[in-house]
Every structure is written in structure tokens, then in C-alpha cells.
């Protein structure tokens, strides 16, 4: 295991009775990076994190932290600390005692030194002067910071975060999201963050691992994940998408560029996985990647505006396609810029997109496999 | 925690628990059961202890009296407690509510013995009630109010009040006021609303309270013997007599088993009727 890798999982599997919660997962978290594990609830991401923290023992496979195999190391001896989903701040202690708890367990340090370090950690998360407050006397955002400081003061090799922003309201979540990213950059500590919220994962991470049914679907930087999803699941789970089902592969224009027939309309797309002619595929198209031109134009798909939903910075326009054999519509996101087209319901429009803005994947045998379990 | 530490810690916790419940509850009751089928002299197996109880007209009378009396007191307590619980949860303002709650709980904090004692102070021949009646000129000599069934009933209702009122309060608390308002809105009057909305909603609390009060009365000793005197004729009294005065553990055990069996059957039937779970009811 290279020293540049802080957390390494090698063929890790965890079973609870007959249930396979984590299925043969391998991944590497580079030193000093912000690594997210993204997946729907029940996907096994919490179990994965708890195995890294030491609260669960893998059924098979190895876990490495800082180059050491830690399978048999109990949680209180591992060089990683965790920020819990519901924070798990100790309600019977004040802020300072919460932050010094780990230092006191470690010992070998004067009381004054512990307090100095705790105040230092609290300052790093932007929390000063509240040392003597009880946990229930500070706000939710402040509690987040205490939880972070409590772990960071121990200077762990890896900080594990179990969706700690989930309980905050939207505004606070947005600002904490940025702060967390800045904090990570400043401290240089490796963060492993698990979440079901893709906006958080995409905004903060250097690398995102998407997990579903205990299996890793894709590990990639956020932009690649968004633009070049590797699997049907990633395409449908990450970001908004138009999903056009049951298309047929007609021809290949080159290795990646594929022509698909959907309800009688020819569309271009990128083959997300190995496809061959006559395969049944679903086509995923990002709403904001579709260009709308008023009127009937060349090189595009003809449609009629059937609905316009104003949403502040942009509008969501629903366009019914006029040339399809079955009723079919596409969602289009239009930014309200100076040269945005002026649309009304009933307008005739022409839609087009760059070929690699659409991703084609084999249709699932069961159409909603990601919704089961 | 892996499986073997988990197992070890379970046994560590299980041992004191089993010692407690085994040595102080299960085994003593098995011994009681065993003794009740053993003759006092000779020590052989016999039904005589039970036959002795059921063949004696006096004991049969005491058994019936205890059971019927307990049921009547339970009903009386319910009649008093229900309006009280209703007032506390739905009518009273904050101050009256606190006062009534305190009035229900305060006697409970004082021991049952003191409760019975206060009634003795009021009811005895030279007691407060007798004095009051003479003051008012209603009578001119002392009257003994103690050692009547009515006195026993008053004392039992007094000790039972809390155990009936609190469960009913708990179930009435969850009754949404808008349900009552809706019933009125739909043309119901007070009695129909009470019968069709309030009482069905409070039924679980009523059952829990009734079971608890009945059990407490059945097993009562202090209140009954102090307010009823030598002729209180209560089941617990003859159990005590067999054990302590006649030193007949076998008959005493048989009587205890009879009391226990009767109360278990009663609770079981009540729980079955009301489809409640004992662990939930507690």
C-alpha cells in the first residue's frame, strides 16, 4: 500500500446474516483529499464507514489506514475519528469538555495544554467564547462545529463524516458545505464523507465513490461523474436527467458515438458502456445541456412548448416532441441570460444537443432496480 | 463488539438478574405452591389444605366477601376518578390542575398506614367526626364510625384513587379536544359524546386502572384491618393468621396460592377482554 494512500479497502465484504451490506468493495483514498461516498439509503455506505471507524468487522477483505492493516484494531485505537450523523455530542458536558474528551483519554498532557489545544481547535472551526456552554445551549450550526473540533483536536490521519450536514436547514447546509471544504483544504486532513445528497458530494469532493447495493458503481472526480457516468445507476442517481427509455441502437458513428432510435426519432449519444447494434438502451440527457431554438430549424428535433415553470435564475420548460410515435417530452432548463429565447406555451421549437451530452446505457431488465430493497 | 464479548457481557448481566428473580420470586412461589399440597403433620401429599378452605363456610364467605367487596370498591373508585381525571385533563385551568394533581399524589406519598390512620382519627368513637356532630347538636353522645364496611370502603377508595386516576388521565390526555368539538358540532349532546367518544377513548386507561385497583384491594391488609377491626373478614387477614398466629405454613401457603391464582385469573381475563398486553399496560 503506497504511503500516499490514507485509507485503503481491499475486497471488503460485510454480511449481516444473509444480507450482503457491502459487496467486495475496493477503493483508495489519497492522502489529504476530500473523498465522498455517495449512495441512496440502504446502499451500504454507512456500513462501509463504520468498518473504517472500527464499529463493524468486515466478513472478509482488508482495511488499511495510513498503510497499516487495521482489521483487528479496536475503534478506540484507530488513527481516525468520526463526526456522527446526529453528532453524538455528550449532553452532560460543556463544549470544552466535549472537545478535550479525547485528549483526556489519551493523557500525557497537562490540563492547560489540553485546554489550549481545544480552544485552538474551536478557533479553527470558527467557534470562540462558547467553551462553558452546555450542548443544548448552542445552535445546530454551532453543534456541528463542536463535533468537528472534537475530532480535529486529536489530529487524526483520517476524519470520517457520517452525513453530519443532513440535519441542518437548507441555508445553513449551504454555508457549512463551503466551510467544510475550506477547513479540509486548510488542515490538509483526509476527509471521508458519506452522504445520500449528491449536491453536497459534487460540491465538496475531490473524488466521489458512488455505491449501490453494497457495490461500487464508479469512482471519479465530480465533473467526470456528472458528464461521463459509468453506469445506468450513476446516470440516473447523479444530477437531474431526462430519461428516454427503450431506444434501439441503430448504428455507431465511431467507437463512442452512437445513433439511437427512440420512438421513431434518431438521436445521437455517447455509449456509456459496451453496446452493439440492436441493443435496447435508455438515453439520459441533462436538461441544461439542451439548446432551444424558436421555430422549425435544421438539425434538431421539433417540439411544442407545453409547460413553463419559472424558478428564479432559470426556467424549466417542458417540450412535447412532435415527430415521435408515442407521446414523448423533454425537460429543458433555460438560464435567464440576455440572449435566452423568449418562449410561450404553444411555441414551436427545435431542440438539439452535443452528442456527448446524452449517455446511453442498456435498459435494465427490471426498470427500477435502484428502487428495490 | 464481537459475538463472544457480547455473550460474555450478557451472562454478566443475566446472572444478578436471575439470582434476584429466581431466589426472591420464582423459587419462593414454587415453595409456596409445594407447601400448599403438603400436610402439616406427616409431610405427605394432600389436597386437605385446599379442601379445608373450601369446605369451611366461614372461609368461603370471606373469599366471596373479599372478591365482591374489591369489585365494588373498584367500581366506586372508577365513578369518582373518571370525572376527576376528566376535570384535570380537559376542564381545569393551570392552577386548579396542579392543585388537583397534588391532591391525588400527596396521599400516595404518605404511606398507606398513615392514610388509614388519618381515617381512624376521623372515624373513631371519640374522633373528629363524632366531635363535629356533637358540636352541631346533631347527636349528644360519641358514635363509633369505625369497624363498619362503609368505613373500610372509604379507606380503600382513598388509597385507590391515584391508581385509577393517573391511567385514565393518561388516556384522556391523548383525546383530541377537536374530537369532542366535532361530536358537538354533529349534533351530539354531553351524554352521547361521553358515551360514544370519551369513554371508548379512555377505555384502555379505565381497564389498567381497574386492574391495578382491584389487585391492590384484594391484597390489602393495613387499611382493612385498621378500619375494619377484628371482623374485617379479609382474605389476607386469614393468610396472616395461618402463618404468624397458628404457624401453619401449609394452610397459609394454600390460602396464599388461592389469593394469587384468583388475582392472576382475574388479570388474565381482564387483559383478554380488553386485548391488552401486560408489558404494555405497565
Amino acid at each position: 500500500m503506497s504511503p500516499e494512500i490514507d485509507v485503503g479497502l481491499v475486497n471488503v465484504t460485510k454480511k449481516f446474516g444473509n444480507l450482503v451490506a457491502v459487496d467486495n468493495v475496493s477503493l483508495e483514498v489519497p492522502k489529504g483529499s476530500f473523498f465522498s461516498i455517495l449512495g441512496p439509503s440502504g446502499s451500504g455506505k454507512t456500513t462501509l464507514l463504520r468498518m473504517i471507524a472500527g464499529f463493524e468487522v468486515p466478513t472478509s477483505g482488508d482495511i488499511f489506514i495510513g498503510g497499516q492493516r487495521v482489521n483487528d484494531v479496536p475503534p478506540n485505537k484507530r488513527p481516525c475519528n468520526m463526526v456522527f450523523q446526529r453528532l453524538a455530542l455528550f449532553p452532560m458536558m460543556n463544549v470544552l469538555d466535549n472537545v478535550t474528551f479525547g485528549l483526556r483519554r489519551r493523557g500525557g498532557m497537562s490540563k492547560a495544554e489540553m485546554e489550549r489545544r481545544a480552544k485552538d481547535a474551536l478557533a479553527r472551526v470558527g467557534l470562540q467564547g462558547l467553551e462553558k456552554r452546555k450542548i443544548n445551549q448552542i445552535s445546530g450550526g454551532q453543534q456541528q462545529r463542536v463535533a468537528l473540533a472534537r475530532s480535529l483536536v486529536l489530529e487524526p490521519t483520517v476524519l470520517l463524516l457520517d452525513e453530519p450536514l443532513g440535519s441542518l436547514d437548507l441555508k445553513l447546509r449551504q454555508s457549512m458545505k463551503l466551510e467544510l471544504k475550506h477547513l479540509q483544504a486548510r488542515t490538509g486532513t483526509t476527509f471521508v464523507y458519506i452522504t445520500h445528497d449528491q449536491t453536497i458530494a459534487l460540491a465538496m469532493s475531490d473524488t466521489v465513490a458512488v455505491i449501490n447495493h453494497g457495490k461500487i458503481e464508479q469512482i471519479a472526480p465530480p465533473e467526470e461523474l456528472y458528464r461521463r457516468p459509468a453506469t445506468h445507476f450513476v446516470a440516473s442517481f447523479v444530477g437531474e436527467n431526462n430519461k428516454l427509455v427503450n431506444g434501439k441502437v441503430v448504428a455507431f458513428q465511431d467507437e463512442e458515438k452512437v445513433e439511437v432510435d427512440i420512438a421513431g426519432i434518431r438521436m445521437l449519444g455517447r455509449a456509456g458502456e459496451a453496446l452493439s447494434v440492436n441493443d435496447t438502451v435508455d438515453l439520459f440527457i441533462r436538461p441544461e445541456m439542451i439548446t432551444v431554438r424558436p421555430g422549425k430549424g435544421e438539425n434538431g428535433i421539433l417540439g411544442k412548448v407545453s409547460e413553463i415553470n419559472f424558478d428564479g435564475s432559470h426556467s424549466l420548460v417542458i417540450v412535447s416532441l412532435l415527430e415521435s410515435k408515442q407521446p414523448l417530452s423533454l425537460n429543458v432548463k433555460i438560464q435567464h441570460t440576455e440572449n435566452a429565447p423568449d418562449l410561450k406555451i404553444g411555441d414551436l421549437v427545435t431542440l438539439s444537443w452535443r452528442w456527448d451530452a446524452a449517455n446511453a446505457f442498456l435498459s435494465m431488465a427490471q426498470p427500477h432496480i435502484e428502487a428495490e430493497a | 463488539m464481537n459475538a463472544s464479548t457480547k455473550r460474555r457481557s450478557l451472562w454478566l448481566l443475566l446472572t444478578p438478574m436471575l439470582l434476584w428473580i429466581g431466589l426472591l420470586f420464582v423459587l419462593p412461589h414454587l415453595k409456596l405452591f409445594y407447601l400448599s399440597f403438603i400436610s402439616r403433620r406427616g409431610g405427605e401429599f394432600t389436597f386437605a389444605n385446599y379442601l379445608y378452605f373450601f369446605q369451611s363456610p366461614l372461609y368461603r364467605k370471606i373469599f366471596l366477601r373479599t372478591a365482591v367487596f374489591s369489585i365494588l370498591v373498584t367500581a366506586l373508585t372508577l365513578l369518582i376518578s373518571f370525572p376527576l381525571a376528566f376535570i384535570i385533563t380537559k376542564v381545569a385551568g393551570k392552577r386548579l390542575k396542579m392543585m388537583l394533581l397534588l391532591a391525588v399524589i400527596l396521599p400516595y406519598w404518605v404511606s398507606e398506614l398513615i392514610q388509614a390512620f388519618t381515617w381512624m382519627v376521623l372515624f373513631r368513637e371519640s374522633g373528629v367526626l363524632s366531635y363535629l356532630l356533637q358540636m352541631l347538636g346533631i347527636t349528644h353522645h360519641n358514635i363509633e364510625f369505625l369497624y363498619h364496611d362503609t368505613t373500610i370502603a372509604v379507606g380503600l377508595v382513598y388509597t385507590s384513587l391515584l391508581f385509577m386516576t393517573i391511567p385514565i388521565m393518561n388516556s384522556l390526555d391523548t383525546l383530541d379536544d377537536s374530537l369532542v368539538e366535532a361530536a358537538y358540532d354533529l349534533g351530539g349532546n354531553f351524554w352521547s359524546t361521553l358515551r360514544e367518544i370519551i369513554i371508548p377513548h379512555a377505555a384502555p386507561g379505565i381497564m389498567v386502572g381497574s386492574i391495578m385497583v382491584f389487585m391492590l384491594n384484594l391484597g390489602n391488609y393495613v387499611t382493612v384491618t385498621l378500619l375494619g377491626g377484628k371482623n374485617s373478614l379479609w382474605l389476607t387477614e386469614i393468610i396472616y393468621n395461618q402463618f404468624i398466629i397458628r404457624f401453619n405454613q401449609n394452610k397459609g401457603s394454600a390460602f396464599s396460592v388461592i389469593l394469587l391464582t384468583f388475582s392472576v385469573i382475574f388479570v388474565w381475563i381482564m387483559l383478554k377482554i380488553t386485548k391488552q398486553d401486560l408489558s404494555e399496560a405497565m
Binding site: 471507524a53 472500527g54 479496536p74 475503534p75 478506540n76 485505537k77 475519528n81 456522527f84 450523523q85 453524538a88 455530542l89 455528550f90 474528551f101 479525547g102 483519554r105 475530532s151 486529536l154 | 457480547k6 450478557l10 448481566l13 444478578p16 434476584w20 428473580i21 426472591l24 420470586f25 423459587l27 419462593p28 412461589h29 415453595k31 369518582i80 376535570i87 388537583l100 391532591a103 399524589i105 400527596l106 400516595y108 406519598w109 404518605v110 404511606s111 398506614l113 390512620f117 381515617w119 381512624m120 382519627v121 371519640s126 382513598y158 384513587l161 368539538e181 391484597g219 391488609y221 393495613v222 389476607t236 393468610i239 396472616y240 405454613q249 397459609g252 396464599s256 388479570v267 408489558s279 405497565m282
Partner: protein, 285 residues
């Protein structure tokens, strides 16, 4: 809708009823309290002036409670019993709470029902069963190890303690388990994560979290023990507890001193009860 302001007939009836209840429940307690300070040796009315004789007098014909050696001794016995019972029952309660809340095993629900048993069984039956059981064991011990070996299981201090623990521990278990159920397990994991050992996590976090419930359960246990009559009556020997001594005296009539004892007990148990009540309220919040 019953809190509307206009004065209706039903409202008047409700208030009249509430007042009757207040008289019924508090009246007797108030009267006993007044009589405890009444300078009338008949322990009844009429009022003959204020006195503290029934508490502290030591003349031969008026022995106040503080100078009544037997009563003071009984109070001492009751306190000793109650303290031991409280300690044992709270420890057992914590133990049982961990067992029922933290573990799942076959037969658990049956064990839970058994655990509730001592609270459901009439106190008299509990007392007789423990008396009969301990009597047999004490006899065997005497036979096996020589006379006197089983004395601690004959009616007396330790048998009273055992008898009271049998049902008081059920109550402490219920109170403490109720709070343990609300404990967020991730607090213990957080302590482990921050470097605490399992024992430290339980001691520093879980037991600290349970402390209010343990204190509340302790007060309830103390009250239950101090006031218990039914079970204790069968198990106490020559050293009676306060309720047993009071009972034996009451059978021979009422003295003003008993009024004084009652008032003392009312004040002490009332205060303790109030503290327990406040704790449970805070606990629920």
C-alpha cells in the same frame, strides 16, 4: 371547549366536584397535622392550645416522639433497611436495564414478564412466599453448618431487605430502562472513537446519562422501602420498622404522639416524593 369562559351549569358542577375531591383527599391530612400540635391528650378536638409536647416532651405521662426510644429505634431500623434496599435495587435496576435494552436473546420476553411479577403479585403473597422459602433454607443451613448458620434468613433485618428488594428492584428497573431506551447509542460509539475504552465509555457517558433516572429511582426505592407494610410485616423480627411499630400500636388505640409521627413522615416522604416527581418531569422533558 370546556375551558370557555362563560359560566355554565356544567362548569359550576365541575368546580363543586373539584372542591369535594380536594376536601376528601387533603382534609384528613390537614386534620391530623392540626391535631399533632393540639394540647389535648385525647388526640382529638376540641382545640386546647398549641403545643410541641407530642414531638419533644419527656415527662412520664407525655412522651414526645423524639424521646420515645422504641420509635426512634424503629426510625433507625427503617432508615438502615431503606438505604440498603435502595442501593441494591438501583444497582440491580441498572443491571437489568442494560440487559433488557442492550441485548436480544431467546426467552427475553418471558423474563421480562417474570421481572414484572413482583409488582403484580399481592404484597402479602410475596411476603409469605419469601418467608416460607427462607424458613426452609434457614433450617437446612442450621442442620448442615450447625445451629445459627441460617439465622440471617430468619425474620429480621436481612430478610426484610431481601423481601423489599424483590419488588422494589422491579420499579427501579422500569424507571432506569425507560431512560436507557432513550440513550443515543452513537454517544458511546463517539466515546470509543475518541479513544475511550468500553468501560470508560459506559462509566463516563452512559452512566452519567442515566444519573437522573438512577437518582429518581433511588428516591422511589427509598420511599417504597420506608413505607412498605404488607411484605415487611411477615419478614420483620424483633426489630420492627416504623410502619410495623405504628401498626402494632394503632391496634391498641390512638395517641397524640402517633399524630406527630405521621406529620413527620408526611413532611419527609412528601418532600422526597416531590423531588422524585421533579426529577421524573425533567427526565421526561
Amino acid at each position: 371547549m370546556f375551558r370557555r369562559n362563560e359560566l355554565s351549569l356544567s362548569k359550576v358542577l365541575f368546580y363543586a366536584y373539584a372542591i369535594l375531591i380536594l376536601i376528601f383527599t387533603l382534609g384528613p391530612l390537614v386534620i391530623v397535622t392540626i391535631l399533632a400540635f393540639n394540647n389535648n391528650p385525647s388526640a382529638s378536638f376540641p382545640w386546647q392550645g398549641f403545643t410541641l409536647d407530642w414531638f419533644k416532651s419527656s415527662t412520664p405521662n407525655r412522651v414526645g416522639l423524639f424521646n420515645d426510644a422504641r420509635m426512634m429505634h424503629a426510625i433507625g431500623t427503617s432508615l438502615q433497611v431503606a438505604i440498603v434496599v435502595t442501593l441494591v435495587s438501583v444497582v440491580l435496576g441498572v443491571n437489568n436495564a442494560f440487559m433488557f435494552v442492550r441485548h436480544r436473546f431467546s426467552g427475553q420476553s418471558l423474563l421480562y414478564l417474570l421481572m414484572l411479577g413482583p409488582l403484580v403479585v399481592p404484597g402479602v403473597v410475596l411476603g409469605t412466599s419469601i418467608l416460607a422459602f427462607s424458613y426452609g433454607i434457614a433450617n437446612s443451613l442450621d442442620k448442615l453448618l450447625g445451629a445459627g448458620a441460617g439465622t440471617f434468613l430468619r425474620p429480621g433485618f436481612w430478610l426484610v431487605v431481601l423481601g423489599q428488594v424483590s419488588f422494589v428492584a422491579t420499579t427501579t428497573t422500569l424507571v432506569i430502562a425507560a431512560r436507557l431506551k432513550r440513550f443515543d447509542l452513537s454517544l458511546e460509539e463517539a466515546a470509543l472513537d475518541l479513544g475511550a475504552s468500553r468501560a470508560e465509555a459506559v462509566r463516563l457517558i452512559t452512566l452519567r446519562f442515566l444519573a437522573p433516572a438512577m437518582l429518581g429511582a433511588g428516591i422511589i426505592a427509598f420511599l417504597f422501602s420506608f413505607e412498605n407494610f404488607n411484605t415487611t410485616y411477615f419478614l420483620s423480627g424483633s426489630d420492627p420498622t416504623v410502619p410495623i411499630l405504628l401498626y402494632s400500636r394503632l391496634r391498641f388505640g390512638i395517641t397524640p404522639e402517633i399524630n406527630a409521627v405521621s406529620v413527620m413522615l408526611m413532611i419527609v416522604t412528601g418532600l422526597l416524593g416531590f423531588v422524585a416527581f421533579a426529577f421524573q418531569k425533567e427526565d421526561a422533558a
